[in-house]
Symmetry: C2
Subunit: 429 residues, 2 copies
């Protein structure tokens, strides 16, 4: 007999059904006994005889053959009268590390992460990753419609992409290699290689030697790069278009999950684009808050988001025109405004989730800029060489998948948005 | 004016068009001059004045504003009378490393890989990656329809998943870590964590100290794991179902690309499942070829594929029931046939593209099996612990994306199916 997923119980025709899952709760009422059976798709109530209850413990994996009964009082209006219960995965634990069938898990995040297989069994926790999966789905769908190609670029690299600090080193057959902190050079290469418009969903690595609520050592980067553009506004248009598409997509595909977190995604007509210097002036004037040279700090990002929300009713804001000295050597200097670049960050609810911009595409300018940054062009030969073969104007951006997930759901710690997070102190499970 | 992709020239209404791309060929006929302009979607003929020809070199990036003209003699029946040509990306090279506008590239694979940005500009080379992208698309679509969830699991791991040999080591904040050679333990965890059915598309790493036509150090693994199964046949059913779906999908989405390689994908009604021992006996009897204990070698895989093709008219064959000693410690021993496991490989056109099987799901059996393999259960505690919480019967498989791509297109070397391959000798570009 074919298994029926709990979400499909209402729609299947037959009365006799086979369901499988984990025992979520046991209600021992003496004369009548109930189980709550949980599978990946939902929870259903099972009515069982007393003698069948003996060996059953919370979180045992079972198969239940029974008859579907409509019962107004049962959750979802359906329950199953069990005829046969078979244990397929024994529960042999002494004690659960925490309970997952109550409203909230009563354990610190670190304990939940130590016992990730248990905490993820709670539907509300697993819902985070349904959202995350649909973010990716929307990203792919939106970009594919716009003629972008998906690529996979190497994560083991010979030289450092953005300066060399904060890179993990790998012993590569006796040579020293690095784990890529970004597919930056490679996605530019793929634009030049004729794909023109590419995206990549892949791991990126940052050996940042501090533990914060917003950093992971290993995260998933949603990368975009696009050729034959006019300027950086084309790139911001793509990102804005994606976010608009995403919000619609999530409202369609993740209604239940968004409700679990009390999130109501508003339509997003536009995203303000404000030069960094203007933003710094605003938060100095309005909140008496000084910013570091050429950037906002974490507090500044929060304050400026507050201002943008009040002024433009937007959770998002593009900060543009970052100074040359604060951006990597491949960033295109602005040809009309002295000292700044055609680059941007995207701030969402007080947190930077994107860095992007237009890149230098002329070989001579690139070599000169590398020298200006007091770097040796010879070290970047594998990257600069192909700029001699008609590299078109191009630019791109990257979104941290876990950061975007966290901010959409108003989670407090980025680790909640990673199945098995890696940080300064965590390498397991 | 909005750019038109070359593939859309026939369908856009306006006569005046803006196209962008690289100069593929220049025909200087004196009185009339032609360019072939190549963008990501195709190639179109441009008619230009002589004076416009001066600065143009092969592979320069240009924008062409012109008028669409129907011309029977032009490729695709359309050409563009150029009014304005603008160079947007200069070609400053001294010499192209090889020509990409001839029928074949006249350079060794290694030279093509050294100049990957150039070789990929050839539409036939880039077509490989359109096929690869659609393999992934089919994989996701098929599995999502079957209620699988996508996951991302860590590639930086604390201990070795399958024995510790052939792993790259990483300096992780001063501790020794490894690059995962498979998401094996983690995908099992995610089944147990309530996702039940998961897939992952991610990098896997093998520090194999030899260079062959079929190995990469970094490759993309299409991983599947599924809970609440009856036995390993459920897993083979999923893989067979995927491959059937894939072939249909590729015929629909990659007609042009398959034709470039002369590939005619046949419908695939079923895939034979043959015990390894029977396969070994057949190739001994039929080809006088001895096999190593508990496996086929590369030559054996080829010979047996030949036999299966002749006997069953199938390019695929599942080899089943590998001996216990030749499979990892988590493989479920067969309960009816002594000494073998509920595992399988999938051979496609003479090459193993999959290893899979049912896993042990009972805690006590797993601990015992780890001891039988003379390993220390304490070393696997992060993995074994969660088997105490009702782990259901489960199994899965993995397909090497580059191997599958290579075999579908009859490529001779797996490096052709990787954008930027990594092997014993290659870390760049």
């Amino acid at each position: 007999m074919e298994r029926v997923l709990i979400k499909d119980l209402g729609s299947v025709k037959q009365d006799k059904v086979l369901v499988k899952g984990w025992i979520h709760k046991i209600h021992n009422l003496g004369s009548v006994n109930f189980l709550q059976l949980r599978d990946k798709s939902g929870i259903v109530q099972i009515v069982i005889d007393k003698e069948n209850l003996n060996d059953l413990r919370i979180e045992t994996s079972i198969e239940v053959l029974g008859t579907k009964v409509f019962n107004e009082k049962a959750p979802q209006g359906i329950e199953i009268q069990a005829e046969k219960i078979k244990i397929v995965g024994k529960a042999t634990y002494e004690m659960m590390p925490f309970e997952i069938n109550k409203r909230e898990i009563n354990a610190a995040l670190e304990v939940q992460l130590d016992n990730r297989v248990i905490s993820l069994r709670k539907p509300k926790i697993r819902a985070i990753f349904k959202i995350q999966e649909e973010i990716e789905e929307a990203f792919r769908k939106y970009l594919k419609e716009k003629d972008f190609s998906q690529v996979h670029t190497p994560k083991i690299i010979d030289s450092s992409t953005e300066g060399g600090s904060e890179m993990f080193t790998v012993d590569y057959f006796g040579s020293r290699a690095f784990l890529a902190q970004s597919p930056q050079f490679y996605k530019q290469m793929m634009v030049g290689a004729g794909f023109e418009r590419v995206y990549e969903i892949g791991h990126a690595y940052r050996a940042e030697p501090h533990n914060t609520w917003r950093h992971l050592s290993e995260y998933v980067s949603l990368d975009v790069e696009m050729g034959f553009i006019e300027d950086e506004n084309d790139i911001m248009d793509v990102e804005k278009g994606f976010l608009q598409y995403l919000f619609k997509h999530l409202k369609q595909t993740c209604k239940k999950e968004l409700e679990m977190y009390g999130i109501d995604l508003k339509d997003m007509p536009s995203i303000p684009r404000i030069p960094l210097a203007a933003a710094q002036a605003i938060i100095l004037e309005k909140y008496d808050k000084k910013s570091p040279v050429g950037n906002l700090d974490a507090e500044g990002e929060k304050l400026f988001s507050k201002y943008v929300k009040e002024t433009y009713n937007s959770d998002f804001v593009f900060l543009t025109q970052y100074p040359i000295s604060k951006r990597p050597m491949y960033t295109l200097p602005h040809d009309e405004i002295e000292g700044v670049t055609r680059s941007f960050d995207l701030i969402y609810k007080g947190l930077e989730i994107t860095t992007g911009g237009q890149r230098i595409h002329e070989y001579d300018m690139l070599i000169e800029n590398i020298k200006k940054f007091r770097l040796n062009p010879e070290d970047f030969k594998f990257y600069t060489d192909f700029f001699q073969y008609g590299m078109p104007p191009h630019g791109g951006f990257a979104i941290g998948l876990e950061r975007l997930t966290m901010k959409i759901l108003d989670l407090q710690n980025i680790r909640e948005a990673a199945l098995l997070p890696r940080d300064l102190k965590r390498m397991t499970p």
